[in-house]
């Protein structure tokens, strides 16, 4: 990169401010006619990130690239202007999403056996329409059910860089079941008082 460094940063910043989705370093390189090293881009991005510290907007690194977003502290103000926003999903939707996120790839049958109830088409449709999940293949069993996985958009929308950044799962606890239970014992539980 031989040009004026301020101009270089200005181009990157403007591209990110106007982009309607995250831009990867590879895409950002294409902004310039001449060859630019990835490290130069990365340095400039970190520089821009610092420039915006303490303001209403932040530059974040997401799964599919870099994108500007408003800081959550501003949401109360912004929602006074336009109250339209995506809904808060019901538990059935979020539990299904969690199973797909943490256990992917899974079939609908897998989800049903974990939740213990049938999964409504509406739940799957909602997640598919939001483009948070997708069918990435089919399981080679009768009926060839679709295998669901989460998308990059899911990670982007939740501000995650990768699946490793998902909230850690609660400890399952070791499955220690008493080796032998006397036949008439189980009834004497602490509950019976």
């Amino acid at each position: 990169m031989t040009g004026d460094p301020i101009h270089f940063k200005t181009v990157l910043e403007t591209a990110l401010l106007t982009a309607t989705e995250p831009l990867s370093v590879g895409q950002l390189k294409k902004l310039f006619a001449e060859e630019v090293a990835a490290t130069e881009i990365n340095d400039a991005l970190e520089d821009i990130q610092r420039d915006w510290l303490g303001r209403g907007v932040e530059l974040v690194r997401l799964s599919s690239g870099w994108r500007f977003r408003a800081r959550t502290e501003l949401t109360p103000y912004l929602s006074r202007l336009s109250p339209e926003k995506p809904p808060r999903y019901a538990r059935a939707v979020m539990e299904t999403l969690a199973i797909i996120a943490y256990k992917q790839p899974v079939t609908r049958g897998d989800i049903e056996s974990i939740r213990g109830v049938s999964v409504s088409t509406g739940v799957m449709q909602t997640l598919l329409e939001r483009a948070w999940i997708e069918v990435i293949g089919h399981k080679e069993v009768p009926g060839r059910p679709g295998l669901y996985a989460t998308t990059r958009k899911f990670l982007d929308d939740l501000g995650l860089l990768s699946l490793r950044d998902l909230p850690p799962l609660a400890e399952l606890g070791a499955l220690v079941v008493p080796d032998s239970v006397p036949a008439d014992e189980p009834d004497d539980s602490p509950l019976d008082d």
Partner: protein, 281 residues
């Protein structure tokens, strides 16, 4: 989220002045804490709706008693579970097959625990019949908590806005594309904001009536009178005729259409409420 139902169950009864709800289940205040299995009949439905299925209910029963999932005492849990199912039946609530299946499983496990184990050589360390249930409960609980954790993450558009500063396009502006699914998605957001989120459900039947209502209004718009029969195309089948008739009734009810007949057996005329209004002036 609907986990709210559990606040009431789990916490010690807080000292609240009368009329202060202890929890909100689907936006409805729950004023009294359920005492063990005593549930106010009218609260039962909302409370049951807050469970995501038999595993969730079972987990609640176990957690409420502070029992170790790994060492579930089968008898009292089965008894409590059955009491819930009884209560559901008395309220004539729709009893999902999954709940009955779970009841059968609990009873089976209990009976296996009571029976002496048949001496078998190949099963040196026979598995506790509760182990599989405990595994499922723990796995479900883990995913339930993960779902809550995901919901707490800041979510694009719901909790923060993306930036998209305008680039003036020199080429001809492209029009946004809309898919039918986008309309459904838009409704979800409307429902979430509406105070009563069960309202505004639209079925296919209703849609065909609505479509016909618009069609009829177009027919009568700007015309003095339209013959009643002219609105019915007999060749299009019975279901169309029925829908069309319902649409006319709906328009009359909403005051958008006037239907008149001078005398018995005389022709019936239809006109827009608007046209009717003007002719009086």
């Amino acid at each position: 989220m609907s986990g709210v139902g559990e606040d009431g169950f789990v916490l010690e009864a807080p000292a609240l002045p009368d009329g202060v709800p202890v929890a909100h289940v689907f936006g409805e205040p729950v004023l009294t804490l359920p005492q063990d299995l005593f549930i106010p009949p009218d609260a039962l439905k909302v409370i049951l709706e807050s469970f995501e299925g038999p595993l969730d209910l079972l987990l609640y029963l176990i957690r409420k008693q502070n029992l170790n999932v790994l060492d579930i005492p089968m008898a009292p849990i089965t008894a409590q579970y059955m009491a819930y199912i009884d209560a559901m039946q008395q309220e004539r609530l729709e009893l999902a097959a999954e709940y009955l299946l779970m009841a059968a499983l609990l009873i089976e496990i209990k009976s296996r625990l009571l029976l002496p184990r048949p001496p078998r050589e190949d099963e040196s360390d026979a598995e506790d019949p509760r182990a599989e249930l405990a595994r499922r409960l723990l796995e479900y609980e883990q995913m339930k908590l993960a779902g809550l954790a995901l919901d707490r993450l800041p979510q694009a558009e719901r909790d923060f806005a993306w930036l998209a500063v305008l680039i003036e396009q020199t080429a001809e502006a492209r029009l946004p594309e809309v898919l039918p699914a986008d309309l459904r998605a838009a409704w979800l957001a409307i429902l979430s904001r509406a105070a009563r989120n069960r309202h505004h459900q639209v079925t296919t039947d209703e849609l065909s009536v609505r479509e016909q209502m618009s069609w009829i209004l177009r027919q009568v718009d700007g015309r003095d009178y339209v013959a009643f029969e002219a609105l019915f195309d007999i060749d299009r089948g019975v279901s169309y005729l029925v829908v069309n008739f319902i649409a006319i009734l709906e328009l009359v009810k909403e005051g958008l259409l006037r239907v008149s007949q001078e005398a018995a057996y005389m022709p019936i005329y239809v006109r827009g409420a608007e046209t009717a209004q003007e002719s009086w002036r």
